[in-house]
């Protein structure tokens, strides 16, 4: 199977390279050849078609290679070094799948496979615009060729076992990865990273061919949103995994690899917003092109950080010398982008300009600016240790403490813009409309801030509390603004159609899925921010606990029922069973069982947190290990307020994005009732237009 996999990869490389070169030649011939030019020996259209088919076939070849690796994992083929390093016989089946992306070779194969998959869909749907798809397909083939070259030359996943002696068993999967979410978190993240290649390819292709209008944006809008959705879900699954597995009580550690996933998300989010300006008013064309270029380059940088060990990270599961390959690829891609832009930038001239600082356009611009400022801050923080080591010889550490000083204010400002933007009119907002639109959200802000102060928050005592108060007050304002938009729109429809408010709301959303889906996403972001703000009030308590011992945290009393040790084929485990009481009443029927596992195959430990999640807070209990002197297990309990809101917020974001992906129902097709006018029969059906647009 190893030989089959290697052969499939070589075939895939040959097909992708053919797609790149034949596609490139065909496009060149099409570009230089006019109606009066001499007939070419090879028809460029036919050459482009063979390139497209080669691209489709490359997906089959990469799929075969991926299948060969999965088959080898499931059949414990320890003649392959990768399988020895990342699997073992006792590994549960679900995690054998995870072995595909747990090491460098496998995860690069996954990159290539997903990219080939996206390319497959792109090439099958070429009929919507053959020439633009040919450009995009060729650019995609260039990226594919790079990854396949890496897999064939530098990090072959089917390499034979070192020393030539086939071991009885493998080293097993990293224990941190043996968690259900790890089966879906990396593929989701990769679907996000890889997916941005498609809008990048379309943007670069459209620029190369001086494509008229914004059709490329319309074609890629759903691609971009799907990709953004995958990346969002991937990031949050990673957060949940860190929360449940790492056992330090938090969900975001500002680790370089976490940062690497956030950077393309930020620029991708900026792109999703600013393309609306191009669609609506033909503005920010250069800006959009550079946003999608940056997003793609940051995705590659993310992969470089994850896999090449450029910066030290808890995520650097596998490191090697592929860094120079990635850096070369980044430099070449950037050079191609700059060259194409310089050559064609006159094609990207804006048709309109922002007319007022207080307008929807300006708010989009500021929103983009803040997202990019956040991205720059994170990039700067991530690479600063490398810079300081290079310049000063000492690696400066930048932990969460640094980011909470720098990134939190930017996040709060972004939250403010989330609320302000949709309240502003296109072109310019009058003072009257500003007053009308802002009075209710402004009141919500003041009331919430006062409520927090009366409730006992002391923002002057702690920076974290200050930002929490600001976040909650702003969240109330933004949520009020969003809900007002729904209520106002539904109210108009209710008056027009006579339908009840809930039905009117549904109709409103169906008519403007993109606009109202976007509002739902914003609402989800607000809920997530409310959850983030709870971090300022985390509490913890730690104690060695013998059976019968008690520990108090917040209103809860934890009583240790006993400590147990067990073993199975995969790991040894130690855990405590703790009953939890609140005001003398049991919190839950089953005791909480925080656990510490030590995997037999490699002796690596893993924390299994016991978490009782409520909307108010999470009671999060960790089995830290045994006290060196007394031998008693050390139990650490955290009370983490509002964490559940983060996961609920994510669900709302996913729902909102899915709504925005559904095509709107044309108002012309929805019959609505309007109040009778003189000369019109009562109840006469006519066309309503409420709810459309952005």
């Amino acid at each position: 199977m190893a030989a089959f996999g290697s052969f499939a990869l070589i075939i895939a490389l040959a097909l992708a390279a053919y797609n790149l070169f034949a596609g490139g030649i065909a496009l060149r011939l099409l570009a230089v050849g006019g109606p009066n030019s001499a007939p070419a020996r090879v028809s460029p259209e036919r050459l482009a078609e063979t390139a497209r088919r080669a691209g489709i076939a490359s997906f089959a070849a990469v799929s075969a290679a991926a299948f060969a690796l999965i088959w080898s994992v499931f059949h414990n083929d320890f003649s392959i070094e990768y399988i020895v390093e990342h699997s073992n016989k006792a590994l549960p089946s679900a995690y054998k799948f995870a072995a595909l992306w747990s090491g460098q070779e496998g995860s690069l194969l996954l990159w290539a496979w997903l990219l080939a998959g996206y390319g497959f869909v792109l090439r099958l749907t070429h009929k919507s615009d053959v020439k633009l798809h040919a450009y995009a397909g060729t650019i995609l083939a260039a990226v594919q060729t790079f990854f396949l070259m890496l897999l064939v030359i530098k990090v072959p996943p089917f390499g034979g076992v070192r020393g030539g002696v086939i071991p009885e068993d493998g080293n097993g999967l990293n224990p941190l990865l043996q968690y259900p979410e790890m089966v879906i978190h990396p593929p989701m993240l990769y679907l996000g990273y890889v997916g941005f290649t498609v809008p990048f390819a379309f943007a670069l292709g459209a620029l190369m061919m001086r494509y008229p209008g914004e059709k490329w944006i319309h074609i890629t809008r759903r691609w971009t949103m799907f990709t953004w959705l995958f990346l969002t879900v991937g990031i949050f699954l990673g957060m949940h995994w860190a929360y449940a597995v790492l056992g330090w009580g938090g969900y975001w550690g500002w680790d370089p690899v976490e940062n690497a996933s956030l950077m393309p998300w930020l620029t991708g989010t900026a792109f999703l917003h600013s393309v609306m300006m191009q669609e609506k008013r033909g503005m920010m064309k250069s800006w959009n092109v550079w946003l999608i270029f940056s997003t793609f380059l940051l995705s590659i940088l993310g992969t470089l950080l994850t896999r090449a060990g450029l910066v030290s990270s808890v995520h650097a599961f596998a490191q090697s010398s592929i860094g120079s390959w990635f850096i070369a690829f980044l430099v070449i891609t950037l050079a191609v982008c700059i060259f194409t832009y310089v050559l064609q930038h006159d094609h990207l001239k804006s048709e309109h300009r922002v007319e007022s600082v207080v307008s929807r356009e300006a708010s989009f611009l500021f929103n983009n600016l803040v997202l990019l400022a956040a991205c720059f801050t994170i990039l700067w923080g991530t690479l600063f240790p490398v810079l300081s080591e290079y310049i000063e010889g000492t690696k400066t550490t930048l932990s969460g403490a640094y980011y909470s000083h720098i990134a939190v204010p930017i996040g709060v400002f972004l939250l403010l813009l989330t609320g302000v933007g949709p309240l502003l009119a296109w072109r310019a907002s009058s003072l009257k409309s500003l007053r009308r639109n802002f009075i209710v959200p402004g009141a919500a802000f003041v009331v919430t801030a006062l409520g927090c102060l009366i409730g006992g928050l002391k923002p002057w005592a702690d920076e974290g509390v200050f930002y929490a108060l600001m976040t909650w007050a702003l969240s109330a304002a933004v949520a009020t603004a969003i809900v007002s938009e729904f209520v106002r729109g539904a109210g108009v429809l209710h008056r027009q159609t006579g339908k009840n408010l809930a039905e009117s709301m549904l109709l409103l959303i169906r008519r403007g899925t993109r606009r109202y889906g976007g509002f739902i996403v914003h609402l989800g972001i607000v809920i997530i921010f409310i959850g983030f703000a709870g971090y300022a009030f985390n509490k913890s308590a730690e104690s060695p606990m013998a059976p019968g011992d008690k520990m108090q945290i917040g209103p809860y009393t934890l009583v240790n029922l006993g400590n147990t040790q067990e073993s199975n084929a995969n790991y040894d485990t130690e855990f405590s069973q703790l009953d939890v009481y609140e005001n003398g009443k049991k919190l839950q029927a089953e005791p909480m069982s925080p656990e510490k596992r030590v995997y037999l195959v490699n002796g690596q430990p893993q924390t299994m947190v016991a978490n009782h999640s409520m909307m108010r807070w999470d009671l999060y209990v960790v089995y830290e290990g045994r006290n060196a002197d007394s031998g008693l297990p050390i139990i650490k309990a955290f009370l983490n307020p509002l964490v559940m809101w983060i996961w609920v917020g994510l669900a709302v974001v996913v729902f909102g994005t899915l709504v925005a992906l559904v095509p709107s129902v044309s108002p012309a097709r929805v019959a609505v009732l309007v109040p009778a006018k003189p000369g019109v029969l009562p109840g006469h059906a006519t066309v309503g237009t409420v709810g459309g647009g952005d």
Binding site: D255, G282, R353, P663
Partner: protein, 163 residues
């Protein structure tokens, strides 16, 4: 009258600023608070990459000793700056969870704000300049600068079914 109002507003802003400063200076200074604060300003040096008070490795041989050292330093009456310096001398600069505000490290703090501020001011100036030079449009409805482009955009919207 206008000047008087401006002066009153300026006084109000100054008073608010002083009040905020006073409030911030009333921070918690007890030993437990200082331990928590300083413990979050330092990293565990066992190479786990975690903040000292959050290191939870099984059998970590470093964080326990560092925590005891921190407790003793606070008990001996040293100020926060001295405690941090003594940790830096013992464990190296990487023990600090965030860069200092001296030398090259200062750049880590300044750059994000400097870049953001410059970008923000630049954008505001640019937009104001655009707004100033904008030809007066006849009505609130957008007048396409290029009717052919507008027509093309409308056609694309229709053909691709996007709203």
């Amino acid at each position: 009258m206008k000047r008087l109002r401006r002066m009153a507003f300026s006084r109000f802003v100054q008073a608010a600023f002083v009040a905020v400063l006073v409030c911030f200076s009333l921070g918690v200074t007890d030993s437990a608070g200082r331990f928590n604060d300083l413990g979050h300003k330092m990293m565990c040096t066992c190479s786990c990459g975690q903040v000292l008070l959050e290191c939870n490795h099984v059998g970590c041989t470093v964080s326990g000793g560092m925590r005891d050292e921190l407790t003793n330093s606070i008990a001996s009456g040293q100020n926060d700056s001295l405690i941090l310096q003594s940790f830096v001398q013992r464990y190296g600069a990487t023990v600090l969870a965030a860069p200092t505000t001296q030398g090259f490290d200062l750049l880590a703090w300044i750059m994000p704000f400097a870049v953001s501020t410059i970008a923000l001011i630049g954008t505001i100036l640019l937009v104001r300049n655009w707004a100033k030079n904008q030809p007066k449009l006849a009505s609130a409805g957008a007048v396409p600068s290029n009717p052919a482009e507008e027509a093309m955009r409308e056609r694309i919207r229709r053909e691709t079914g996007t709203d």
